[in-house]
Amino acid sequence: MSARFTFDNRFLGPILITAILVAAHLSFGILEGYSRTGMAIAVAIGAELILGRLTYGRIPHLASAYITGISVGILVRSPFLWAYALASLISIVSKYALRYKGRHLWNPSNFGVSAVLFLAPATVSLLSIQWGNTLWPMVVIWVLGAVIVWRVGRLHISATYVAAFLLFSLVRSAVTGNPWLASVAPITGPMYQLFIFFMVTDPRTTVHSHRGQLVVVVVVAFAEMLLRLAEVVYAPFYALFLVGPASLLVESWLASRALTLDAAPSVGVR
């Protein structure tokens, strides 16, 4: 393949999420106003520029901050501009403040959105609407999203999450007595598309091994099931909030342990 056909994969995420936003807004008007989404994006990028420059001495790549800002702009629902600004700010700052062994622990927008949902229940909610009345926009997003996450090597994570969600929805239905379709309903909404394609697949906040990624995402889905059985409306976000960092810490601990074990025999031999 010639060089002119190479493409920086870091642009794929921003392109997809922008496509989702534009398509959703033009088709169904999901944005209450450009000012709120604009505020979220501007704050995320501004914070990333300042914090990145001060921390690393250089201007960071802004794709991640853009995705964070636009995710906040789509997901957060509030009549107050401060909610968008603070959700973005918290998301970005969390990357720099909540670190362990050089890695940030939470997916930024997952942290920011979860924080404002938890701390400001009276004034902030989550995008909870469906994606219009027809299935085709969802199919387009699914196909486009699948192609992109496949290209960046994360399709197995999204696919495993969806399979686990469907499986656990059967369990929820059996436990609650609610129709299975009601249990499945959330995954047909746009909120979940952002979650499936952008949050659970975040390379910076997922474990490294392929197998580990599958295990973690199943645990996320399982935790979500437990939270849903407890009637927690924002279950997927809180599940990832809890499981994501824990999995990274476990991975680090296992890596340290492996290093120790590797080192121990040689010492003994010596």
Partner: protein
């Protein structure tokens, strides 16, 4: 400074910034929701109707329905058994109230609807001594919910034949009816002769003279499809196809008054082709053309603003005027000149449930100058969060010269410790194939859905801020409120508040205003214009201020205020002028009208 020290210092700064941001979220949440510093937190709560509240806010409300002879408890319907598992929410409307002086004795009366099969509607006649008597049966408007004919959802008064007596249009989930007022001595059903359809599942109707021909026309908004008999369903695929984009509701009707008791249905011909799930409608001249425009608050979607094209057509301008940018769950349509500058703001209620869904109510205020375009100032002015909001009306409750806002709320109050919200939120996100079928909806099993909510009485300070004083002034009920209607029942210059509650008692809050606050009221009677004066606009000018009000043929949610216009004046002891613009286009100025009384104005021939 070494690099590691610098990195550690920066980490401390970022950590502090994170903590500060999280703290800011908590503080702003409290302030924005009005819980951090309620306006009355430093006031020793006097209890409902206390003298402290009277002195501080200028009025108190006292719930007096039973004492004044109003003993009405709304009954809900029971639809097809296939809906049993979600019956409390699908059968959640029908409590409505409409005010008019039907017998022209000078005292406002009111009609209240019931929705149980075979239940009776009530017509309360004001006896002039502060008490009321139910005369519905004697007048022939009580027994209107017979099996097979559907059940009442609301009613609006309007003198369609210009005989001087307000007639009554009753809309239902079922067969609508038009009752001719026989000179205040009784009512005769004339719907069939008038050409009304056999069945409409309607939740809103409004009288207005859209073509200014001097005869009142009638707009009726379907909610459920008119093809559904909710008691005999052949399918459970009856629900909205979307929580926010549904267009499979009932059709709209515009009955053009031909005179002689005949109406012609012209909705499609004039461009009213919506099938959105309309819950409230109100008409006023919003575009300043002299013709009444039509605002629809729709459940499961964006509202619609139909601009009147000279009485020949309506053009939907929701997006162009920016009121239809975000789909919500609209349940109320009321107009008010909240800044005393002649601009009519639109108040639309929606759903806000902490921790689940914060749609927030909308207060659409027209921009000054230029083409008609609105800004939502609900958050800025503090009238955005009202729970699961239903009916709301503007009125100067304390006679200080600015319009206040009374809001009722609450959806389903059942189990006090159990909530249906999680299941509701889950199904609401589903694709149309899921949400559209009632059998997919989780069973409610006696759980509440935004039940037992506290009401809002927002006082307008005239400087761009509304303050909720409901609990202090005495609006302390927690019923599932639906309709709110305002009227000065004792002709004393104080606006009383009627609240119709779903499966609950009708409340009559008597208003006691602090002495020394002046007021003026107008009763308009058209001649070239429709006799009810609906659509007439009165601009009151005093002390450099002006306040505009229009006579309404229905507003709020399933409600109609008294058509008499009420203005509070505060300490003003004289006013300069009242200018009436009649629907016919004629203008009439009254210099120095008399204060503290009801002024009767007849349109000049």
């Amino acid at each position: 400074m070494s690099d590691s020290t610098r990195q550690r210092a920066l980490w401390l700064v970022w950590s502090a910034m994170l903590l500060a941001s999280l703290a800011a979220v908590v503080v702003l949440n409290g302030r924005s929701a009005g819980t951090a510093a309620p306006a009355f937190s430093h006031v020793e709560r006097p209890g409902p109707g206390g003298t402290d509240a009277l002195a501080r806010y200028g009025f108190v409300l006292e719930e007096s329905a039973r004492r004044l002879g109003v003993e009405f408890v709304h009954q809900g319907p029971a639809f097809d058994k296939q809906l049993d598992h979600i019956m409390p929410q699908v059968a959640s409307m029908g409590a409505a109230v409409a005010v008019a002086d039907f017998d022209r004795d000078g005292w406002p009366d009111f009609y209240v609807t019931n929705s149980g099969e075979a239940s009776l509607n009530h017509l309360y006649r004001n006896r002039g001594d502060g008490t009321f008597t139910d005369v519905a049966a004697a007048m022939g408007v009580a027994d209107v919910n017979a099996a097979g004919s559907g059940v009442s959802m609301g009613a609006v008064w309007g003198d369609y034949d210009n005989d001087g007596y307000d007639d009554l249009f009753l809309y239902k989930y079922g067969r609508p009816e038009l009752f001719h007022n026989d000179a205040g001595r009784g009512f005769t059903p004339v719907g069939e002769r008038a050409g009304l359809p056999r069945w409409i599942n309607a939740n809103a109707a409004v009288w207005f003279d859209y073509d200014r021909d001097g005869r009142l026309d009638l707009f009726v908004a379907g909610y459920w499809s008119e093809n559904l008999d909710l008691w005999h369903l052949s399918t459970t695929r009856i629900m909205p196809e979307s929580f926010e984009y549904a267009e499979n509701g009932g059709r709209k009707y515009l009955f053009h008054n031909l005179g002689g008791g005949k109406f012609e249905e012209v909705a499609l011909k004039l461009g009213l082709a919506s099938r959105r799930w309309t819950l409230a409608a109100a008409a006023a001249d919003l575009a300043g053309t002299g013709y009444p425009d039509l605002f629809l608050a729709n459940d499961y979607g964006v509202p619609q603003l139909y601009l009147n094209q000279g009485g020949r057509a309506f053009v939907e301008a929701g997006r162009d005027t920016r009121v239809a940018l975000a789909p919500k769950s609209g349940m109320n349509a009321a107009f008010g000149d909240i800044f005393n500058d002649g601009r009519l703001a639109i108040y639309k209620t929606n759903i806000s449930e902490p921790g689940v869904l914060v749609q927030a109510n909308d207060l659409w205020v027209p921009k000054k100058g230029g083409p008609l375009e609105y800004d939502d100032l609900a958050s800025s002015l503090g009238v955005d969060l009202g729970g699961w909001s239903w009916g709301a009306q503007f009125g100067d409750l304390n006679n200080d010269g600015t319009l206040d806002l009374y809001l009722t709320n609450g959806y389903v109050s059942a189990g006090e410790r159990s909530s249906y919200w999680y299941d509701f939120a889950v199904i609401a996100t589903g694709h149309s194939a899921i949400i559209g079928d009632a059998k997919n909806w989780p069973a409610m099993r006696g759980r509440s859905l935004s039940g037992y909510q506290r009401k809002r009485v927002w006082l307008n300070d005239g400087a761009g801020r509304f303050t909720d004083v409901a609990q202090v002034v005495g609006a302390t009920d927690t019923f599932d409120g639906r309709a709110v209607a305002l009227a000065d029942f004792s002709n004393s210059g104080a606006l009383d508040v009627l609240v119709a509650n779903q499966r609950g008692p009708l409340l009559l809050y008597k208003n006691r205003v602090q002495p020394g606050r002046h007021w003026i009221e107008f009763e308009l009677e058209g001649r070239s214009s429709n006799r009810s004066g609906i659509g007439a606009r009165v601009e009151l000018q005093w002390n450099g201020r002006r306040q505009v009000q229009e006579v309404s043929g229905g507003s709020g949610f399933s409600a109609q205020n008294d058509r008499r216009l009420h203005y509070g004046l505060g300490a003003m002891t004289s006013i300069e002028r009242a200018v009436v613009r009649w629907p016919s286009g004629r203008r009439q100025a009254i210099d120095h009208p008399t204060l503290d009384t009801l002024n009767r104005i007849v349109e000049p021939e």
